[in-house]
Subunit: 219 residues, 2 copies
C-alpha cells in the first residue's frame, strides 16, 4: 500500500478496469479519469460511470470531442467499419492518432493541479494490435516529455504492459474482481457489454484470453 | 525553398508571427493553427485572424477550452493578476501547465491527417521566463514522443530557440516584416496590441528588445 494518490486513465473496458482495481490495492486514493471523444458506443462511458458509482471511485469525464474532429477513424465514426483483420501494411483503421498521448497529457495536467504524481494506464505491448501508442517505448518517452513540460515528477505505471489477455484475466482473478471485469466492462468494438459480439478483433482477443485463463488455471 | 508544407503554431504574438513569415520563405505552403482556450484577451485571437486574412495564410482555430478548466493561471483567468516579477522559487503564475505540449500534440494530429510533417513553433529558451515547455530539451523530447505515438516522422522547427528578443526583431527586419510585427501583433499580458501597455513582463521584454535592435543596427 502506497501512501499516495493516483489517477487511472479509465475507459470502462477490461484493461483499464483491471488497472482501477489494481490501483486500489496499491494507492491510498484512486481517481478515475475518462474521456468523451464521441465514441461510437456511448455505452462505453456508461459502463465507466456505473463501475465508479458502484465501487465508489471518484470519477471525472473530460470532453475531448476535438479529437474526433481531427482524427477520422473507425472507433469514432459510424460510417467507417472496423477492420476484421489487422492490415498487412500500415496502421489498423481503429487507430485514433494521438489518442493515448492526449489522454496521458490531460491526465497529467489534471494530476498536477491536485498534487498527484502517479498516473496509471492499461496499455499493453503484448497484445499489440499495431497501435504505436501502446508500446513501452512510447510510454517511457511521454513520461520524460511530461516531466520536462511541467517540471514535475510524474510516474506512469503500466501494470499490463507485458501481460497478454490470459494473464490480465489472471490478474483480475487474483484481485478478486473477475466477475466484475467479465460482466460489467465493455471492450467490444460493436458496443456490447460483457462477452460482447464475439466477432470483432477486441472480442476475439478478450474471449480467447478468458478461455486460456480458465484452462491454464483449471477453473 | 523547401518543396513541402508546414504547420505553424500561431498565437498572433511577436514570436509566432515572425515564425509564420519565416516559414513562408522556407516552405511551399504554410498553414497557421491557433488555439482558443479562453485567453483573457480575445484580441489575441483576433490579431491572429487578421494577420492570416490580410497576408493570405490558411488559418484554423481549434477549441481548447478544456485547458482553461484544468489549469488555472493568470493568462486565462481574469481573477488572477500576472506576476510583475518572476518568482524566486517555482513557476510564474502565467505558466499554463501543459500548454505547449497540447498545442504541439494537436498540431501533430492535424498535420498527420494532411500528410504534413513539418511543425513550427516560436518557443525560445534564450528569453526563458521560467516556462519549462519553452526549453530545447522539452521540444526534442516531445518530437521523439510524437513520432513514437503516431509512427510518423514529424520534424519540429524552432527558429527562435536560441535568439533573444533583439535578434528576433532583427529576423523580422531581415524578412521584411518589421512593421507588421511591430504594429499588428499582440504580446502584452494586458491585451494591448502593438507596443502594448509597456508595464507587464511581456512588454518589457519586447520593448527592450526593440530598442536594442534599433541601437545595434543604427536604425
Amino acid at each position: 500500500m502506497n501512501n499516495e494518490k493516483a489517477i487511472v486513465v479509465f475507459s470502462g473496458g477490461q484493461d483499464s478496469t483491471t488497472c482501477l482495481f489494481w490501483a486500489q490495492k496499491k494507492f491510498q486514493e484512486v481517481i478515475a479519469l475518462s474521456f468523451d471523444y464521441n465514441q461510437k458506443h456511448k455505452l462505453e462511458l456508461q459502463c465507466a460511470k456505473n463501475i465508479c458509482q458502484k465501487y465508489n471511485f471518484e470519477h471525472h469525464i473530460l470532453d475531448l470531442a476535438l479529437l474526433n474532429q481531427l482524427a477520422a477513424n473507425s472507433l469514432t465514426r459510424s460510417d467507417i467499419e472496423v477492420d476484421k483483420e489487422p492490415p498487412k501494411k500500415g496502421l489498423p483503421n481503429s487507430f485514433v492518432d494521438g489518442r493515448n498521448m492526449l489522454f496521458l497529457t490531460f491526465a497529467a495536467i489534471f494530476a498536477k493541479q491536485r498534487g498527484i504524481k502517479h498516473i496509471i494506464t492499461g496499455v499493453s505491448q503484448s497484445d499489440y494490435s499495431g497501435y504505436p501508442d501502446c508500446r513501452d517505448t512510447f510510454i517511457k518517452s511521454i513520461n520524460v516529455t511530461l516531466n520536462l513540460a511541467m517540471d514535475y515528477e510524474f510516474v506512469i505505471h503500466t501494470p499490463l504492459m507485458w501481460l497478454n489477455k490470459e494473464e490480465t484475466w489472471k490478474m483480475a482473478y487474483d484481485l478478486g474482481v473477475l466477475d466484475i471485469i467479465k460482466e460489467e466492462t465493455l471492450t467490444c468494438y460493436n458496443g456490447i457489454k460483457g462477452d460482447g459480439c464475439g466477432q470483432c478483433p477486441a472480442c476475439n482477443l478478450r474471449n480467447k484470453g478468458y478461455l486460456d485463463f480458465k484452462k491454464t488455471n483449471n477453473l
